[in-house]
Amino acid sequence: MTNAAMQGTYLGEGSGPRAWLLTTDHKRVAWLYLISLTGFFFLGGAMAVLMRIELATPAGDLVSDDGYNRLFSLHGIIMVWFFLVPSIPATLGNFLLPLMIGARDLAFPRLNLASWYVFIFGSLFALFSVVAGGVDTGWTFYTPLSTLYANGWVSTAAFGVFIVGFSTIMTGINFIVTVHTLRAPGLTWFRLPIFVWTLYATSLVMVLATPVLAASLILIVLERVFGIGIFNPDLGGAPLLFQHLFWFYSHPAVYIMILPGMGVVSEVLPCFSRRPLFGYKAVAISSMAIAVFGFLVWGHHMFVSGQSAYAGVVFSFLSFCVAIPSAIKVFNWSLTLRKGEISFETPMLYALFFLALFTFGGLAGLFLAALAVDVHLHDTYFVIAHFHYIMVGGMVTAYMAGLHFWWPKMTGRMYSETAGRIAATVTFVGFNLTFFPQYMLGFNGMPRRYHTYPPEFQFWHVLSSAGAVVLAVGYLMPLFYLGLSLFRGARAPDNPWHATGLEWQTSSPPPPHNFKTMPVVTRPAYAYDMKGLEHERFSPYREEAAE
């Protein structure tokens, strides 16, 4: 990629392994993350494909029951801890946060690089446990399955997740401090792009929830290695305690996973409908509200675990409350489209698909938050379908929207628009074909985590497996046309989508320290409706030398 055209950009600053592996430039660290996370995404995806092939027939003919347990455990561990949690923050967030707020870099560039090395170190432990024989506890490491009865590499897998937690906390601290201290002159809190708001909310959750996960994983490792029986009733401990600690982190963690996706969509929808984001303040505040409510609803994972019925009622009520800020966002996004000049470029297609899939998954969440219904649906495919609609249909679709939206900025190249639109549509069709049947399966009583099933479920399982193949094609396509664009793509202009964000005011790709002259912000975000500014129609910023 390095050639004359890249001179003066961050990509022209040397191309050897040293220049990449010892970089402290946030834009290059973002690439390190992007490449490693793509590896994990396809590793976890391959496991999902194996599971879907196994489930095409009622009998267990491809893998053994124990092998199947290991497949879904590793699929979950890799996808949740090594892809979804870091996905948008560590790649797009890392690349864009300083650009969007007019800073030269993150507040702590070396800490940022260190976080990637910690991530890789932790992921080695997890990969070791994959190669050495796997884990069969599910991604949740429930005790006593992970302590008394485990027959896999639980300690190394849990330790890997524990290490990756440090990388998450480092990123969180870096983002929070950056947003507080490095905003450009004139960039007040309520002029920040929503993507920055959601990264900020995500970082708060990362910093305050991850340590509780760390505590519970330390206690598991202490129990397995040192024999301290905190979750072992034989030694006076309580297994249910683990579920409380685990979900105290892991429920907020689902908001770590979805909030940045909401931020991406809030950037893309206004740009391709040429309208300011409807209800900017409501969207910003509801991001923070989701982060706060997220800490108060962990008990809804334990409705049938024997917690008190009164606790169940409270957690159910609070879970319904989370739907309010989420619905505020969905309505505001929809109203942004109203009377807009909508065009359907690839990022916009992904963003619209996000809107549909997130709404669909979110509504299913209300079923599960209702106590009586949850007793019927708990641990069935209904739950699988619900969180895949949010995590894959929502988060991964938003990730793809963001990747296509900012790809010209990151690489200085345009990709094939036709291929992009086809891939987005194939993904949408494949996704619904894979996961909608799982709602039906779960509603009819098919439990999760079984590799054999009664023949009457086969119709829906076959549909779902067929959908998985289509979905895999949808996810593999960008690998090729985005990869090709690096070498063959047309040069990207600085602002190909005529978007308003500060990141579009610098060159594509940006220079090493982001801006040649430091920007000063004079207008709110998403000023797509400013009149009388024809010569700078989509450029609500002026550049001035920093004082």
């Binding site: 402290t24 300083p98 800073a103 030269r104 870099d105 993150l106 507040a107 702590f108 560039p109 070396r110 906390i169 969180g172 601290i173 870096n174 929070i176 401090v177 950056t178 507080h180 201290t181 490095l182 910093v207 305050l208 929830a209 991850t210 340590p211 509780v212 760390a214 505590a215 519970s216 330390i218 206690l219 202490l222 040192f226 024999g227 301290i228 029986g229 905190i230 034989d234 030694l235 006076g236 401990g237 309580a238 305690l241 600690l245 105290f248 320290h513 920093a546």
Partner: protein, 211 residues
């Protein structure tokens, strides 16, 4: 960009604000870590309070009290280091930092003595050691000692981290300019006081609450 460690900042003053904020955020994160563990202890205490009360009498109150005094004194010398750094009296600052880390090491030595006493008395249910306990309800007493070792060793690890950072700061002292020195002292000072405060909660919860 002169005088800043990160390219992102224009002035050392803004960088120092950022460093201090980062340390506060990190302390918030650490508070959640210890908070989780304290919560586990609290729930266990509600379930088996009498067994815990009996078991906690087997801890050494004199050594625990001595260690508390040592750690609070180390917080005093750390506060002194910060005051001296604000006055730019660098030599005295280094001495105060060295005293702080020595007091930290003293705490760890006494903790080690306590651990070895408990191990020799058979009160350590870790690493497959035989747990010998004469009092009532040995099962829950074992749980108490498990928690005791988990909590105090986690605290000791944080203290060791602090001592290593102070040692590193003293080693790099000559290469740092005055602004860097000041904000490093401020950041490690915040961390040190936090680790101290954790002990101030841990001591009564483990040693005193049932006496």
């Amino acid at each position: 960009m002169s005088g800043t460690e990160s390219v992102a900042f224009d002035t050392p003053q803004r960088e120092q604000r950022a460093d201090t904020l980062a340390m506060w955020v990190f302390i918030g994160s650490e508070a959640m870590l210890f908070g989780g563990i304290f919560l586990v202890f609290l729930i266990a205490h509600i379930d088996s309070g009498t067994a815990f009360a009996a078991a906690s009498k087997h801890l050494s109150l004199p050594l625990g009290t001595f260690n508390t005094a040592v750690l609070i004194t180390s917080s005093f010398t750390m506060a002194l280091a910060h005051t001296l750094a604000l006055q730019r009296r660098w030599r005295a600052t280094v001495w105060a930092l060295a005293a702080t880390s020595l007091l930290g090491i003293c705490f760890l030595v006494v903790k080690g003595i306590e651990y070895s006493r408990e191990i020799s008395e058979g009160l350590a249910p870790v690493l497959g050691l035989q747990f010998r306990y004469a009092g009532p309800d040995p099962k829950h007493a074992e749980f108490f000692f498990g928690l005791y070792f988990a909590m105090t060793s986690l605290h000791a690890l944080h203290l060791i981290g602090g001592i290593i950072v102070i040692a590193g700061m003293i080693a790099l002292w000559r290469t740092a300019n005055p602004d860097n020195r000041l904000h490093r002292v401020e950041a490690i000072g915040l961390y040190w006081h936090f680790v101290d405060v954790v002990w101030v909660f841990m001591f009564p919860v483990l040693y005193l609450i049932n006496r």
